[in-house]
């Protein structure tokens, strides 16, 4: 597999072409919206996290924005995966992702935990693209802190 293909795994191209949970849900119940911008390229995301009535479980994550295929795929994958997690689980999920992405290729994301998002492991070798993959995750972290 070429370096390029290791970056743009099939799954990433799929998600970027068919982004999941695109379009913000209504501002119903406990929720928060985060706007994040990638300073490197100027791309941006608006992400909304809604919390179940128990005050702890992620009900759903929706988003809008524009950016490269990595950022779009990453947002799509993330919003698929965090539904049903507790706040604590979601925060740990983001932390683990950040650690791997910043590892310059040293840490692979575990497929059992990260499912589709594990395909983003390859990004960590492309330091200029790490921010692309992180954009939605930073937005989720910010939204959870305020929801």
């Amino acid at each position: 597999m070429s370096d390029l293909d290791a970056l743009y795994r099939e799954l990433i191209l799929d998600h970027s072409k068919h982004p999941q949970h695109f379009g913000l849900a209504d501002e119903e119940g406990a929720h928060a919206t985060s706007y994040q911008k990638n300073p490197v390229c100027g791309d941006e995301i608006t992400l909304r996290a809604r919390i179940e009535d128990d005050g702890d479980t992620v009900r759903d994550v929706t988003w809008e924005g524009r950016g490269c295929s990595i950022s779009q795929a990453s947002a799509s994958m993330l919003s698929d995966l965090v539904v049903g997690m507790t706040r604590t689980e979601a925060v740990a999920f983001v932390d683990g992702f950040r650690e791997a992405l910043r590892s310059r290729g040293a840490i692979e994301l575990d497929e059992n935990t990260y499912a589709d998002a594990a395909a983003l492991s390859g990004v960590s070798k492309f330091s200029a693209r790490v921010k692309c993959a992180m954009l939605a995750w930073v937005a989720l972290e910010d939204a959870l802190g305020r929801a």
Binding site: L4, V40, C41, G42, S69, I70, F126, R129
Partner: protein, 431 residues
Amino acid sequence: MTSSPSAAPATLDVEAIRADFPILSEQVGDRPLVYLDSAATSQVPTRVLDAQREFLTHANSAVHRGAHTLAANATDAFEDAREAVARFVGVLPNQLVWTSGATMGLNLVAYAIGNATLGRGLPGSALLALQPGDEIITTAIEHHANLLPWQELAARTGAVMRYIPAREDGTLDLEPSASTITDRTRIVAFTHVSNVLGIVNPVTELARLAHDAGALAVLDACQSVPHLPVDFRALCVDLAVFSGHKMLGPYGVGGLYGSDEVLEALPPFLTGGSMISRVTLEGAEYLPPPQKFEAGTQPVAPAIGLAEATRYLDDIGRDRIHAHESALAARMRDGLREIPGVRLLGDAEGVERVGLWAFDVEGVHAHDAGQVLDSRGIAVRVGHHCAAPLHERYGLTASVRASTAVYNTEAEVDAFLDAVSGIRSYFGVSS
């Protein structure tokens, strides 16, 4: 046609030139590097590195104010460099102020005018003071370096910004309109060549419009000085800036040209050592230009390197460089036009241009496109290239830009075109 010296210049020996740039033999992964990002920063020939090293290992010492032999030699080398660089852009040595780069040069001018507005400087400086409602004009195609310093100056002084619009084809629209030059206009700042469009703008015409309105004409010559023969006095601008690192020279040095009259009237910007004739705890008197604007230790070795870069460019011949780069650009345009989904920015006909092209690949984000080129060893720039408003005008946030220098070859252009033609299919975008 007889082959007089003014006829079409002979072609370059690009292979010999490439040997002067060791970095061009680098590999990216298993591909040879194809460097098409010279508009961001150009590569440095060995001669320029050697000139600096020679100075640093044989003559280095603080310039001016030194009585010892080393200091006198260093001062001579430094002032010889000023003379060489001044000559390269058609001006006198004391009309050339060293800066750390073009951004710094434009900020110098904007802040110095701000200082005049606050009553600083000599009696003559008041002529440059801005009144609330005075207008500063720039264009819709500027690099942020020729936009933000003016926006900030306007915000600090109550002056108003106006913009000369650009046509779809990237040329400036100079038709008189309320939004362009009027008798409230005090400053007209514009680029010689946009770093996105590559089109050579009508400088003397803009300078004339500025002068007719009694305004200063300020030129951003970052993208012209490296690629064309440029003579600031012949262009009739009052002030002009350029950067060393874009013209085969070192980082950390650039030049600001100012006419005698304007440099005389401008108050100082940075203050500190070596720019004063008298300092007490109550205040200071400043030296005449260019020293007035050169506070603190100057980039001595970089200036000497830059002078060597100008000699290198002149040895090849600027007409020949321009012809070479123009031929590469024409080949690029012909190729890019044929690739489905590629939209060139500023594809005006019948204008003079430098050797760069920015483009959009429909359906593919510029960063993704750039990544594909990078995987083929081709270094291009992606993003807004510090010209966000220009991209917005085209409905884009980013584009891909390939830019050439004297060391690029036709084969590199072909490799680039081949790689571009594969971008959309890689991402499964149908043509």
